[in-house]
Amino acid sequence: MNVIAFDRVTLTYGGRRVLSDVSFSIPQGAFVGLLGANGAGKTTMLRAVLGLIRPASGAISVLGRPPTRGNPAIGYMPQARRIVTHAGISGFDLVVTAAGGHRWRWPAASALEKDMAWKALEEVGAADIARRPFAELSGGERQRILIAQSLIGDPKLLLLDEPLISLDAAHQRAIIELVHEVGERLGIAVIFCSHEINPLLRAVDAVLYLGNASAAIGSVDEVINGPVLSKLYGTHINVVRVAGRIFVMADDIELEGAAHVHDV
């Protein structure tokens, strides 16, 4: 059984077609890098898998079933758009709300929820930093905490939306190694969303590249090459490999490296 299967799926966002008639599948336990320029539909695709938006046409299957909101088999780490800045909130506070914050119950977390939170924190080696204020943690430590909370409830699939954003190279490597190791150890498939392929090169089993309302999936070599990317970007693309790194260029401008500049 596949963790995710898209069958001729069309997704729209704000009236715009983000994906058009896209089909692919991801096997269990795979580590997949989800790539594409800003606005290519990475987050929209993740939201569709989470059951937050419905496809305009086609069928999505998540672990053999249609997507449902609040699916406990999915661990999710959203893009950190608003970071908690209050000194009163610790990493543990964040993780424990993820353990049962969606339930309508007595406010205090139960012993079971606290156990779940500590277990998840230990999986990523973050138990010793969990009591510190989240706002005072470094970027890498924060991502560790946020990955911990995505592990709550023993998911079969992790959706990580841009975990590398605003991390330096060393911390990027550490986070990728952590996710890769945890995914293998616990048998969890990982969809790892990123702007850039290079940090992920050694970790990924496959690449899912979005662009021009379509998608390409396969090994790094099958997807990151001139002909495939030219189609996805709708312009002539050169792929250059230098010293084990890949540069994706359009008219001599590097696309991937410059991608987050367009964010602002």
Partner: protein, 267 residues
């Protein structure tokens, strides 16, 4: 100093401050956590035309004020992120005060009460009002406890909460209604212009220092109550307005928390 409890108006004032401070401390904690303090501030202002308009129609200003703040709360809740625009909130805020002024223009007899609505008059609170405030406080706290879990989740991590099945619009609208009723209550103590002091200062001070959510809420409540009690006592001793003391002590607590935070960071 304990002679102040010989006066019925002081006993009423202490009782009213206590029940109101308990809810503002708790509700304010979430308001600060969600970054919605300015929206809360605007909500209070919307109450002003409600109060003066009710006066114009011969109704109770408190009822008019509560109806207006609750309607505005529902509006802000439903607008969600779109309501977090400084300019829009600022325009609604000034429009409200302008409307309130217009109603006063048509009903000048109410003008003497206008200062009370704007700046509060805790020493003028009747026993009957104390009972009403106490009942409202119990209702507010019950509602807050009811939604507190999804509210906390949605406040800290909205995207994740949504993915886990929390209805963000429902939680946010419920919370803004709670804020609206709390605001109407707090207005009885400090007036529409100064609600911020009782609602935000204790919570913001707490969030700078105290670790943990539940503990933070309890400390925020305690701080709000202590500020209210101290202010009343100082008002009794100095004969200066209670609202002045509440704003000053609130600001002092917030500043002190900032200094302590800095000292801690320096170590």
């Amino acid at each position: 100093m304990f002679t102040m409890f010989d006066y019925e108006f002081m006993r009423n004032a202490f009782a009213a401050c206590t029940v109101v401070a308990i809810v503002t401390g708790a509700v304010g904690y979430f308001l600060v956590l969600r970054g919605q303090t300015f929206a809360g501030h605007a909500l209070a202002h919307v109450g002003f035309p409600g109060a003066t308009g009710a006066g114009l129609l011969g109704l109770s200003p408190f009822v008019g004020l509560t109806v207006f703040t609750v309607l505005a709360g529902i509006g802000i809740g439903l607008l969600g992120e779109r309501a977090h625009r400084d300019v829009a909130i600022g325009i609604v805020l000034t429009l409200s005060l302008g409307l309130g002024l217009l109603f006063l223009h048509f009903y000048t007899a109410f003008a003497s009460q206008a200062t009370n609505v704007l700046f509060g008059n805790v020493l003028g609170i009747s026993y009957r009002t104390v009972i009403i405030l106490a009942v409202l406080s119990v209702v507010i706290l019950a509602a807050l406890i009811f939604i507190s879990r999804p509210l906390l989740f949605a406040s800290l991590q909205p995207e994740l909460a949504e993915a886990k099945g929390v209805n963000l619009d429902f939680v946010s609208t419920m919370f803004m209604i709670i804020v609206a009723v709390t605001t109407a209550e707090a207005t009885q103590i400090v007036g529409v212009l100064l609600v911020f002091a009782l609602m935000v200062a204790p919570a913001a001070t707490t969030l700078r220092l105290a670790r943990g959510v539940l503990r933070g809420i309890l400390i925020s409540i305690a701080l709000a109550v202590v500020i209210a009690w101290t202010s009343l006592s100082l008002a009794f001793l100095t004969d200066w307005p209670t609202s002045f003391w509440i704003t000053s002590l609130g600001a002092a607590a917030y500043l002190a928390a900032g200094l302590i935070q800095r000292l801690k960071a320096a170590h």
